[in-house]
């Protein structure tokens, strides 16, 4: 087995170790191992097997060369001329979810405003149902393959479902407290939901990898210049995510503390202040001062 590693190194000698070339080399390594094992099982000596397996690879430089682009009608046409249409099942699911969301949230609003008498538990239940349905449309949409994007893995799409549902639930619950039906101390629940939701969004955003199909990525590089700082410097974007999380947590904690100490009439100013600080940080980080 040692020989194929040496022969592979020789085959790649003099080739610039770009990520692309390294990728191809590692892919070939596992395949070569399998091919050598097969040849050895047929009774070929290990040395000869390794040599033959490498010999079958052909010219690596040729493989790494630029792939010719087929002529296209417009830069955004997919290479094979394939547009992915939404799956019928997906359309049905999203329509159902949207209907459920609209019905649940409308009834919730009427209940919260006291237009129709609903027990508090039922009102909160409707809110949870509506929030969950909206989260579902978001998660399900991200899980679909589109013409330019690969589908998001199920677990990650589930994360977006949870984060969206939590934030909407928190907002709705906040309205319920503001309008009166829910007692003030219950502000703990939406606060926890909001922090969890935002933390989840921050985590998902910071760990997000590219989902564009590579032809789409190539075209977007070709046709747009990446000028804003977050595209040029992903570390800055990650830093901004962490700052945002800290600002929001501090604002929510200040909101709760102020609410219980000085009263709820002015406590919301803490959230406004948090938002303002976040926007200033965003502006400073996106467009750093040039000296």
């Amino acid at each position: 087995m040692t020989t194929i590693h040496r022969l592979l190194d020789e085959a790649f000698a003099g080739i610039e170790p770009t990520p692309d070339a390294q990728d191809l080399k590692e892919e070939m390594r596992a395949n070569l191992e399998a091919r050598v094992a097969e040849l050895e099982a047929d009774g070929v000596s290990p040395d000869a097997a390794a040599r033959r397996a490498i010999g079958e690879l052909g010219d690596i430089r040729e493989l790494l060369g630029e792939l010719p682009d087929a002529p296209r009608r417009s830069p955004w046409d997919p290479p094979a001329g394939v547009r992915i249409r939404p799956k019928p099942a997906f359309v049905v699911r999203v329509t159902v979810a949207a209907t459920v969301a609209a019905a649940a949230l409308a009834t919730f609003a009427l209940g919260a405003l006291g237009v129709i008498p609903l027990p508090l538990g039922a009102t909160i239940g409707l809110l949870a149902l509506g929030a969950s349905a909206i989260g579902w449309t978001v998660g399900d949409a991200l899980h679909q393959e589109t013409t330019t994007n690969h589908p998001m893995p199920q677990a990650r799409a589930g994360g977006f479902y949870a984060a969206t549902s939590l934030v909407i639930f928190a907002l709705g619950f906040g309205a319920l407290i503001a309008l009166g039906p829910a007692p003030l101390w219950t502000v703990v629940f939406p606060s926890i939901a909001l922090v969890l939701g935002i933390a989840l969004f921050a985590f998902l955003g910071a760990t997000q990898t590219n989902r564009h199909k590579s032809w789409a990525l190539r075209h977007s590089e070709q046709y747009t210049q990446q000028e804003d700082r977050f595209s040029q410097d992903p570390a800055a974007a990650a830093r901004f995510g962490i700052y945002t999380l800290v600002i929001i947590v501090v604002a929510v904690v200040a909101f709760i503390v102020l609410g219980f100490t000085t009263g709820w009439a002015w406590a919301w100013l803490a959230l406004v202040a948090g938002f303002l600080v976040m926007m200033i940080v965003l502006a400073r980080m996106l467009f750093p001062p040039t000296h």
Binding site: N31, L32, R35, V82, T148, H150
Partner: protein, 115 residues
């Protein structure tokens, strides 16, 4: 003559490498050597599509978004790069198979004598 007909068949096969690979991946995700072996076994070992050709095909298919790749988590030996067909790949596959069926009928009617 045997060698000539061999070369002719190999040429025909090579011309459809993309569709053949998509066809293999349609049955489930797979990695380089396994795809290579599936094709070789399907031809009864008589013909094979060269591995170099296959690597070029994977790269082209991935670039066009017809397949996506991911690394396996093998603990022993090298990690395998797996390929999975996308919906775009399935659509292209279906289109190519339909085109092949139509072309095959035309060539059959032109080349094969009927009595």
């Amino acid at each position: 003559m045997v060698q000539d007909s061999d070369a002719f068949a190999a040429d025909l096969l090579r011309g459809h490498t993309d569709t053949i690979v998509l066809g293999v991946l349609r049955r489930g995700e797979s990695y380089g050597f396994e795809i290579y072996k599936t094709i070789r076994d399907a031809t009864g070992g008589a013909h094979e599509i060269k591995e170099a050709t296959l690597y070029a095909t994977y790269r082209r298919l991935e670039k066009d978004g017809l397949v996506e790749s991911f690394w396996g988590d093998e603990t022993q030996g090298g990690r395998r790069k797996y390929y999975r067909i996308t919906d775009a790949g399935r659509a292209v596959y279906a289109r190519n198979v339909a085109a092949w069926a139509a072309t095959r009928d035309i060539i059959d009617s032109l080349l094969i004598e009927r009595h």
